[in-house]
Each structure stands twice: as structure tokens, then as C-alpha cells.
């Protein structure tokens, strides 16, 4: 349609967890077809940012548009890789079952996955080299394998915009390079990806653009421009005691 509309537009977004603000007034306009890293210290609100965009945590103020439309209308165009620790890996499902879940959003209520859905799921497993494990129960997988299953599930969503929460955390080197190859391939196909990442040295080499975040947006731009000592200092070193103090006060006095 309109190729110029940004993949994601965030305007003056404020988010509070249990009445305590964790993100303040975020403004972002994310172009299409880029691989974007979200970096910042612990508690900077990296996960919260992508969860808020997807409507998983309530927004206190501001708005979000995905491909020029409210999130609710473009859910089918969004893929999600949650943190690996967020689920119970003893759950009685096979690898194939999990990847098929990527198709559920498209299927709509009641309808069962079809043969084609299974084909898509199989192809996605193949891409992350997990096809031989399709019938395994998920608890028998290593951390890297679990992460690749989650990635395959997101691929099965066949989306245009992907949110990934720490896909590189706790994975082996082989998985890390497999994931990064896959992300580059997705970018070639015009997909946009926002990836929460916590490792600075690799952030520089992996991503086209970076979002530097610490409760508020510190900087957003091409990696070469924003990966500077000064900006990183502001993101990581610069103490934000005032912001966190005020957040505490807001929580106590129940303003939000």
C-alpha cells in the first residue's frame, strides 16, 4: 500500500507497571525493512516497550500505530518472540505443536490447523534446523533449541513486523549465528524487526539501527550514528535518580 508509512509509530507513550511509571513520553518512528536493536540497562523498560506496543501491558498515555493503523487492526502483521523463561517448558506439547501455535492467530477461533499450516510449520522448523526434533516433547530441548523453536513459531506467523525479547540470551554460539543469519534473511525480504538485546559489543555489529532506552528514549538512529561513547554513557552511566524518584512518588500518591 503506502510504502512510505513507517512500520511502527509511537507517540508520547507512557507506561506504568503497578502504578509506577517505567517508560516516559516515548516518540518513535521506525522505518520498514530494518533490523533494530533495543538496548539499555536492566530496568530500562526494554521489554515493557515492545509489550506496550502489542497491548500486553496497559498504556497510561500516548498512542501506537502499526503500518499506519491502530495495533488491534494490524495484529496479523505482527510476530512475537517472548522471553524464553516466560513459559513452562514441561508443558505437554511437542515442538510441532508449539510452532503450529504461530498459525493460530491467522486461523481465527474454532478452526483447526490445516495441512498447509503444517507444511508452513515444517518449513519454519527446517529454517532453524529443528525439523528432526518436530515430534520431541519441548522439555527435552537445550536452551538454544528452545529459542529456535520460539523463532520458528514467530516465522510461522508470516508477519511483516517482528518483536523479539532477548532472543540471544542463554543460547550457544551456533544458535546465535543461526538466528542472526535468519534475521538478515528476513530483512532482505523487507521485514522489520525490533530486538531487545543486552550485549553491547554484538549490538554494534548485528543491528542497522539502535534504540537507546533508559526509562525514556535516549537516542534512536543508525548504529554508526548513535553507538557513541557519549550516548552510551547517557544511557548506561548517567544516573536517572530524578526519574526513578519521581516514579516512586507517582506510585505512592497514585496519580496515574
Amino acid at each position: 500500500m503506502h510504502d512510505s508509512t513507517p512500520a511502527l509509530e509511537i507517540h508520547d507513550l507512557t507506561v506504568a507497571y503497578h502504578k509506577k511509571p517505567v517508560l516516559w513520553g516515548i516518540d518513535l518512528e521506525v522505518p520498514r525493512g530494518k533490523l533494530i536493536g533495543i538496548i539499555g540497562p536492566n530496568g530500562a523498560g526494554k521489554s515493557t516497550l515492545i509489550k506496550a506496543v502489542m497491548g500486553l501491558v496497559p498504556i497510561s498515555s500516548g498512542w501506537v500505530k502499526v503500518f499506519g493503523q491502530p495495533f488491534k487492526k494490524s495484529m496479523q502483521r505482527i510476530g512475537y518472540v517472548p522471553q524464553r523463561e516466560s513459559v513452562d517448558w514441561d508443558f505437554p506439547v511437542s515442538v510441532m505443536d508449539v510452532v503450529l501455535m504461530g498459525r493460530y492467530g491467522r486461523l481465527g477461533l474454532i478452526k483447526r490447523p490445516t495441512k498447509e499450516d503444517r507444511e508452513v510449520a515444517r518449513a519454519c522448523l527446517e529454517k532453524v534446523y529443528m525439523l528432526p526434533f518436530a515430534n520431541r516433547q519441548i522439555s527435552n530441548l537445550s536452551g538454544g533449541q528452545q529459542q529456535r523453536v520460539f523463532l520458528a513459531r514467530a516465522l510461522a506467523q508470516e508477519s511483516d513486523l517482528y518483536f523479539m525479547d532477548e532472543p540471544f540470551s542463554g543460547v550457544d554460539a551456533a544458535t546465535e549465528s543461526a538466528i542472526i543469519t535468519l534475521l538478515h534473511e528476513l530483512r532482505e525480504r523487507g521485514k522489520t524487526m525490533l530486538v531487545v538485546h543486552h550485549d553491547l559489543p554484538t549490538a554494534r555489529e548485528y543491528f542497522d539501527m539502535l534504540i537507546l532506552l533508559n526509562m525514556r528514549l535516549v537516542a534512536f538512529g543508525p548504529t554508526s550514528e548513535v553507538f557513541t561513547n557519549e550516548l552510551l554513557q547517557t544511557t548506561y552511566g548517567g544516573r536517572l535518580t530524578i526519574l526513578s524518584d519521581v516514579a516512586e512518588a507517582v506510585k505512592e500518591q497514585r496519580i496515574l
Binding site: 497491548g55 505482527i78 513459559v87 505437554p92 506439547v93 505443536d97 492467530g105 483447526r112 516433547q137 518483536f163
Partner: protein, 506 residues
């Protein structure tokens, strides 16, 4: 029924113990349930013996007759009881499976106790045991209870377990007070309200069965139709919501069905134990399978079996409370799954452990024989029991027992009345592999991980038995096909595996 009550005063004492047990909820729920069962079991046992002592000529023919009556389905009330129990078993199994995987077992327990005041009020409303009034009352009480839990969680610092415990105990206490009040009413004695505590399948009426059937059909239909939605929102609720599925609606739907199931199950299973019927069959199924749809099927079957067995045993014992028997049957199924499950069962695990230990024992003996040969530079093929025992610092008898084991697995052949041992080709191959694994690992630890040479032996003694072929190839590559271990001994290579090479090497 009234006379039955008077004959079993123990029920009352069991009950008061159960009530006082409420107070300590905050500890572990499982413990409490165990105590429940023990108290109930005791009271039932003493009740039956007292009963038998009074009617001294209760005989086998009487039991036989009862069993016959059960299986020929002569009594209409029995037919209702049986049908009701079967449908309940299925409902509880199917819903219980999702309760277990969603980690909501305690919620089920709290909910089942919280409905008691509603049951009593529903009864007071019509002054009779009108299933519909009781259903409405219990559902409302359940909803209030769940809301209270939510409120406590949101507005205080208390976590879910404490909130559940609080609501469970206080609602149950109110319920018990109301039930006692009703029993004191002029009509109270004939009411059968006391049957709601421990369940009485025989008291299930046509109206009850109708309600049970409606809930069963509703639950099975909902879970079948929305299986995929229930599955994904139970496994990964964040992902399900991001994919646009109505996770809140699903959660509330499951909770509502759960409340319905508990309410209709009250008559048969009783308030105290109904949550066990939800959890136990599902837990047994969880131990037996790795796939959700099989878990649902198995749990439904287990629930059904437990329901029928419970109704049957209660009928045999002259209408003893049904709930405890159903739960006992379900627990028996669980214990069997725990012990004999083909994949996660205790027995299978024990057996695997045993055979692994045996294999390690054999491999260690093979290694020792190899070492004896190595120490005399592979002169002569035979190793005597004495030499083996000396190297292993053990008695001749122990060495003999090992040699018998090795012979049984065709790893060695014995000569001179079992005193001399010779490797078979397989035995030699296996011995070489173990020694190679051991020495490669020692070398790897000293070279790559930089352990001190005297630290590596014990470690290698364990690792040598678990190294797979792939790993060994990788180790060989990394160590550049080294020939000697850190202690300077030769590492047997692939070309040593055949006995012909033994001579050449010597």
C-alpha cells in the same frame, strides 16, 4: 438416612477435625489434603466396623447381593448415581487437565470450599433440596469467592496462595455454620444437606443428573471447539494475546466451567474432596503422556473409572459417603501412574538406573583386565582372577562374580575352571573404547581445560562411560590424534580394536 447419621457419630468428629485443619491452610495444600483423607478414612473405617458389630450377621452373601444389584442396575436411583458419576468423572478429567497445566490447582480447591455457603443459602431459599436453587446459590458464592481472591491480591501485598487460603477458610467456615443451622431446623434432619460435605452418589436425583449432563456436554463441547485457544493461552498467554486471541475471555470461560463442574459435583463427591477429583485424574494423566490431547483423553477415562468405582464401593458399603471412595480410586490410579508409568514411572527410572550401574560395573572390570595386560606389555592373552583381584584391590570371590557377569554378556571367555579370563572380540573392542575414552578425557582436561594431571583421573572414571562416538571423534580431532595420555601411557587407537594388532603392538 437420618438413622444412618445417628449411627455414625464419627462423621461429626472427623468434620470438626477437618474444620480446625482449615486454619493452617498457609502451609502446604497437599499435606492438608492428605490429612483430610486420613481423617475421613479413619472415620469411615471405624464407622463400618461399628456398623458391622451391630448388625453382626453382615455376610458375604449380603455383599454379593449388593454387587449383583449394582451390576444389574435394578434400582433407578442407582442408575442415576452411576450415570452421574460417569459424567462427572469425564467433566472433572477434561477441565482438571487444564487446571493442572495452568497451575490453578489451588484455585479449584478454594473455589470448591467457597461454594458451601451458597449451597446452604440455596437450600434455605426453597426449604428443600432443589438442585436448581442450590446450583444458582453455589455459583454466586463461587463468583464472590473468586472476586474476593482477586481483590485481596490487587489491594494488599498478599500473594495468591495466601489470598486463596484466606477465602477458602472463611467461606468454608460460614458454610459449616449455615449447614449446622439448617440441620437444627425442624425439616433439617431430612434435608440431606450434610451429604454435601462428603458426597452421596445415591442421593443424586433425576434433576441432578440433568444438570450434570448439561455441564458435561458444555465442558466437553467448549474444550473441543476451543481446544487450540485453550492450549496456546495456557502455554504462553503473552504470545496468545499478541496473536489477537481473547485470552481473558478464555480464562474466565474456563473458570466459569470449573465453577459449574464443582457445583454439580458437590452432591456426589462433596465440598471437601471435589477438588481432588479435578486434580488427581489429570495429574495421573500428566505423568503418563507428553501431549495435551492425550492428557485430556486419559484424564477423562481416569475420572470415569474413579467415579464408577467410588459409586460402586459406596453402594457396597450401604451408602457410605461416595466422595472419599472416588478420590481413593483416583489416587490409586495416580499411584499406579507414578510407579508404573512407562516413561516417567519410578520403576522404569529405577530399572534404567540399575542397568546403567550394571553396565558401568562391567566396563570397569573390562578396563581392569586391559590394564593387567598392559602392565605386562600384552605378553600372553589370558588374565587370571588373582591378577584381576590384585589390580582392583578386591577378593577373588568378587573378581569371580565380575567374571561371571562379563561371561554372561559374552565379553570374556573363561578357562581353567573359570580362573583364567580371555577377551572375546567384542570384549576387547569395548575395553579399548573405555580406556581410550578415559585417557582422551584426561588429556583433554589437562591440555584444554588445564586441570592439574593428578586432578583428572576421578573425573575421567565417570566421564568415560558417557562419551558418545561423536564426542570421541571431536576429542580426537581437538587433541590432534594424540598417542599418549598425561601419565605417558598409550591411548588405544581405532586400529587396536582387533586382536591381531595386540601381538604386533606387544
Amino acid at each position: 438416612m437420618t438413622s444412618a447419621r445417628r449411627e455414625h457419630p464419627e462423621h461429626g468428629s472427623g468434620l470438626s477435625a477437618a474444620i480446625s485443619a482449615r486454619a493452617n491452610y498457609h502451609t502446604i495444600a497437599a499435606l492438608r489434603r492428605l490429612a483430610h483423607c486420613a481423617i475421613l478414612l479413619l472415620s469411615i473405617l471405624t464407622a463400618t466396623s461399628a456398623h458391622a458389630a451391630k448388625v453382626s450377621d453382615i455376610s458375604k452373601t449380603n455383599l454379593g447381593e449388593q454387587a449383583l444389584r449394582f451390576f444389574t442396575l435394578q434400582d433407578p436411583s442407582l442408575r442415576y448415581a452411576l450415570l452421574g458419576s460417569i459424567l462427572l468423572g469425564i467433566t472433572c478429567g477434561v477441565l482438571g487437565s487444564f487446571i493442572v497445566v495452568r497451575k490453578m490447582a489451588l484455585v479449584g480447591d478454594a473455589l470448591s470450599h467457597a461454594v458451601l455457603p451458597g449451597v446452604a443459602l440455596g437450600f434455605l431459599w426453597g426449604q428443600t433440596k432443589d438442585p436448581f436453587a442450590i446450583f444458582i446459590g453455589a455459583t454466586i458464592a463461587g463468583l464472590i469467592g473468586t472476586t474476593a481472591v482477586g481483590l485481596i491480591k490487587q489491594t494488599t501485598r498478599l500473594k495468591e496462595d495466601a489470598a486463596l487460603g484466606l477465602v477458602l477458610a472463611s467461606f468454608f467456615a460460614v458454610g459449616i455454620c449455615l449447614v449446622t443451622m439448617i440441620q437444627r431446623l425442624p425439616t433439617g434432619n431430612k434435608s440431606g444437606i450434610d451429604k454435601f460435605l462428603f458426597g452421596q452418589a445415591a442421593a443424586i436425583s433425576a434433576g441432578d443428573v440433568r444438570l450434570i449432563a448439561i455441564v458435561a456436554v458444555l465442558s466437553v463441547a467448549a474444550i473441543t471447539l476451543f481446544y487450540k485457544e485453550c492450549l496456546v493461552s495456557s502455554f504462553d498467554v503473552g504470545f496468545a494475546r499478541a496473536a489477537g486471541l481473547p485470552t481473558r475471555l478464555i480464562h474466565h470461560g474456563i473458570m466459569l466451567l470449573l465453577a459449574f463442574a464443582i457445583v454439580v459435583a458437590l452432591q456426589a463427591v462433596g465440598v471437601v474432596l471435589v477438588s481432588a477429583m479435578l486434580i488427581t485424574p489429570a495429574a495421573a494423566a500428566y505423568l503418563l503422556t507428553d501431549r495435551m490431547h492425550w492428557m485430556l483423553v486419559l484424564a477423562a477415562v481416569f475420572g470415569m473409572i474413579s467415579g464408577v468405582l467410588g459409586a460402586f464401593l459406596s453402594f457396597l458399603g450401604n451408602n457410605l459417603p461416595t466422595g472419599p471412595f472416588m478420590v481413593l480410586a483416583a489416587s490409586a490410579v495416580f499411584v499406579s501412574a507414578f510407579l508404573f508409568g512407562p516413561r516417567h514411572g519410578v520403576l522404569v527410572r529405577w530399572w534404567k538406573h540399575r542397568s546403567r550401574a550394571d553396565r558401568i560395573g562391567r566396563e570397569n572390570a573390562l578396563k581392569s583386565i586391559y590394564r593387567v595386560l598392559e602392565e605386562r606389555d600384552f605378553h600372553g592373552d589370558g588374565v587370571s582372577l588373582r591378577e584381576l583381584a590384585q589390580l582392583r584391590r578386591e577378593s577373588i570371590e568378587e573378581a569371580r562374580a565380575e567374571s561371571v557377569e562379563l561371561k554372561r554378556h559374552a565379553l570374556v571367555s573363561t578357562h581353567e575352571e573359570g580362573n583364567m579370563l580371555f577377551f572375546t572380540p567384542t570384549g576387547w573392542q569395548r575395553a579399548c573404547e573405555i580406556v581410550r575414552n578415559h585417557r582422551l578425557w584426561e588429556l583433554y582436561l589437562t591440555n584444554a581445560v588445564q586441570f592439574a594431571p593428578d586432578h583428572v583421573h576421578e573425573d575421567a572414571d565417570k566421564i568415560e562411560h558417557v562419551l558418545g562416538t561423536e564426542t570421541v571423534r571431536e576429542l580426537e580431532r581437538r587433541l590432534q590424534f594424540a598417542k599418549r595420555d598425561p601419565h605417558g601411557r598409550l591411548i588405544p587407537g581405532l586400529d587396536d580394536i582387533y586382536p591381531g594388532n595386540l601381538v604386533r603392538r606387544a
